[in-house]
């Protein structure tokens, strides 16, 4: 019964949070998102620092082509999180993009795939990123 209900109201997402590309797979729908793991940020001194101007494909097109006040970054490097804040923002953006931002919807159950070689600290960082991005029951395995 519980399983049924959950089936109606929630979604299962499998996320491949890769150094180069992030993919999201939804049960019964297949691959719903496939974008480069890139974030573009702009200096915004009045709003206390930096704001995100593009994520994914749009941001990748900016790599190596940005003016001084914008930086396009790849927050994952060598299979691990190099920049925690931007990874979380990126994940949040991608999850919202496929799941919608409706408050009535329960948060999705998410499985994030991490590299075999990742340390406990790195795994916790990924878990916290996904939770920060609104996921529940974040499990992850290699």
């Amino acid at each position: 019964m519980f399983k049924r209900l959950r089936g109606y109201f929630s979604t299962d997402l499998s996320i491949d949070l890769g150094t180069a590309n992030t993919l999201i797979y939804v049960r019964d729908k297949g691959i719903v998102l496939n974008e480069p793991s890139v974030v573009a940020v702009q200096d915004e001194p009045t709003r206390g620092g930096k704001i995100i101007v593009a994520v994914g494909t749009e941001a990748k097109n900016m790599l190596g082509r940005t003016p001084g006040h914008i930086t396009a970054v790849r927050p994952m490097k060598d299979g691990v999180i190099a920049d925690f804040t931007y990874t979380e923002k990126m994940l949040q953006y991608f999850i919202n993009k496929v799941h919608g931002n409706r408050t009535l919807k329960p948060s999705p159950r998410v499985l994030v795939c991490v590299p075999f070689g990742s340390t406990q600290v790195e795994r916790r960082a990924i878990r916290e990123s996904a939770e920060g991005a609104g996921a529940r029951n974040v499990a992850h395995r290699e």
Binding site: K3, D12, S14, I15, D16, G18, T19, A20, N21, L23, I24, Y25, V26, R27, G30, I31, N34, L63, G64, M76, K77, D78, G79, V80, R109, L111, V112, C113, P115, F116, G117, R123, A139, H140, R141, E142
Partner: protein, 203 residues
Amino acid sequence: MAAAVGAGLPVHEPRGSMVLDIGGGTSEVAVLSLNGVVYANSARIGGDRFDEAIMNYVRRNYGILIGEATSERIKIEIGSAYPGTQVRELSVKGRNLSEGVPRSFTLNSNEILEALQEPLQSIVSAVKQALEQTPPELGADVAERGIVLTGGGALLRDIDKLLTEETGLPVMVADDPLTCVARGGGRILELMDELGPGHFGLE
């Protein structure tokens, strides 16, 4: 694990399956049996290192600076892991270091093969090490069934040939190697509902 499931390997069987995932940042090789990881190792070498190797080669041999995106395009269009019969060429643009101006020049596939030698050899070593450390029964299964490649790096031309040549084992590129991990993770979620989470040794 997810990569292997996504590649359709029978990881639940009591037989060894070997999968090598070559991503952007890392290459991971694993031997799986009975839904568990028997051996796994990960090297921080992947597509990014290939791109860097091409940038360095071009700077050294042509005195020209190219960007990451150009380097990736060269790799995808004329890169290969094993000498082929056909030499392919590509015209690209970069900044000449001494003159400081943009210049067009032509690269061929043999040059890129040479540029990629070092990172390719590191991947070969990781696979050989995995084979050495796999228990004999499982190693025999792998020898029979071969190694399955996933990740974007599996799309590098003739990487399967290189690995076959170096290991003597059959090597296959999975269908749609870029999406194996995401699809495999989805399948694992379904199996967890059917069989219970403990089944996959999740944390």
